[in-house]
Symmetry: C2
Subunit: 217 residues, 2 copies
DNA sequence: TAGTGAATGTGAACACAATCACAAGGAGAG
DNA sequence: CTCTCCTTGTGATTGTGTTCACATTCACTA
């Protein structure tokens, strides 16, 4: 269908450009060159041009890219318009952070319901969403026809809930618990493992400070 | 110093292996083949072997890797032993999630202090750490000699605080707000942008469901 | 002690993405 | 209208990481 295969790295960077453009727009900038956008996103200027050119010539030679127009193109390419409904399981600290974050809808999804097993939380409203009883999760997810669920529960509880969700017909899970052997194989499970990310960052920041140490043993 | 350059992807994967091994250990598994570990971490088996071989032959031909022994090697390579002290700025939902997470120390760092500007929070204890007044941040960070700070404040407040921290001598910041033009250039700022990650995931999960649609325009 | 089966460790081939370098082309000045 | 400047868009090149395929080596058995 599309003439050339588009590298997955390109797609990932488009999200980055969108972020950068949002900042530029807030700042009142109307036009941006690939060089400037590259600086902001900390990538190579040629990469910016090549990435954008996969989708058509959005720029004007000698001038650059129109910020607003480019954002509209990316908006369409990244499907920020199709708002997808998702459910949240686990109204702990991370769950609450997600529920009270207001901009998700601008990026293409909406948390329409949340589940927890704590009786004190059930029935309360967090960020405009009423917390429902976890026991009703399967029925509700089926009823609402949800495809994607966000899992923000304690690590030990994650695999069991994930299996339940698989049975409920969910096709992908975004989990804040580490993926492990006990997670279901039939559906796509993506993990944001905060402690792994932190360990990674720390390792790299240490490397940065220790200029020339040997790496092996 | 080291004979061969080690790909950064290899380092990143080591953290993944560590995760997988932790699960195997919990499960009571003593020995694991590259094939099995690759399945768990969803990577190629040859990659597992090659990655590990950069650091020496940890396995036994015909048998596999000893789970416990391999974990010890990775532990040392990834420097999980050097516990680094870090500060947290912003005791909102994400901040609280980080403070109450208990396993960070096992992965090489420790949040030893937290700052917030809300008088109701100052002086309270969250996850064993007392919240201090943001006004004292610079002095305290200097006093404690901290190098890495975690920033979990509203997006709009992030740039200003980041600049303040730069002046306080901090060398890297992990921010949960999007990096933008207003962030300092002198220090390393890494961002975990939850909403960007979610948008990415959503895009990919949609792609997964729509097998053969064209990509362009 | 020799034979068998299994999984490692690794050179070579491949695939993919980053970068370079330049031709093409629009905008604005005079 | 033409000339110059500037930035895009893109073929070619380089660099890097992934994957393959197999020789090597170990444990176990009889």
């Amino acid at each position: 269908m599309s003439p050339k295969r588009i590298p997955s790295e390109t797609i990932d960077r488009l999200f980055l450009y969108m972020r950068g453009l949002t900042c530029l727009l807030r700042e009142g900038t109307c036009t941006v060159s690939s060089k400037r956008l590259a600086e902001i996103c900390r990538v190579n200027a040629a990469a910016v041009r090549k990435d954008l050119s996969y989708f058509g010539g959005f720029g004007t030679r000698g001038v650059g890219y129109d910020v607003k127009e480019l954002m509209e193109h990316l908006h369409r390419i990244l499907k920020y318009d199709d708002v997808t409904d998702v459910a949240l399981v686990g109204v702990g600290n991370i769950g609450r952070a997600l529920l009270t974050h207001s901009d998700f809808e601008l990026e293409g999804f909406r948390i329409i319901t949340a589940f927890d097993c704590d009786p004190d939380k059930i029935g309360t409203k967090v960020g405009g969403v009423t917390v429902e009883d976890m026991d009703h999760m399967v029925d509700r997810v089926r009823e609402l026809g949800l495809d994607l669920v966000i899992l923000a529960v304690p690590d030990s509880a994650a695999p069991k809930i994930a299996h339940t969700l698989e049975k409920a017909g969910v096709s992908s899970i975004l989990s804040f618990s580490p993926c492990d052997l006990f997670m279901p194989h039939g559906i796509e499970v993506t993990c944001i493992d905060l402690s792994m990310e932190m360990a990674r960052l720390l390792y790299h920041s240490r490397r940065g400070n220790e200029p020339a140490e040997e790496v092996g043993v």
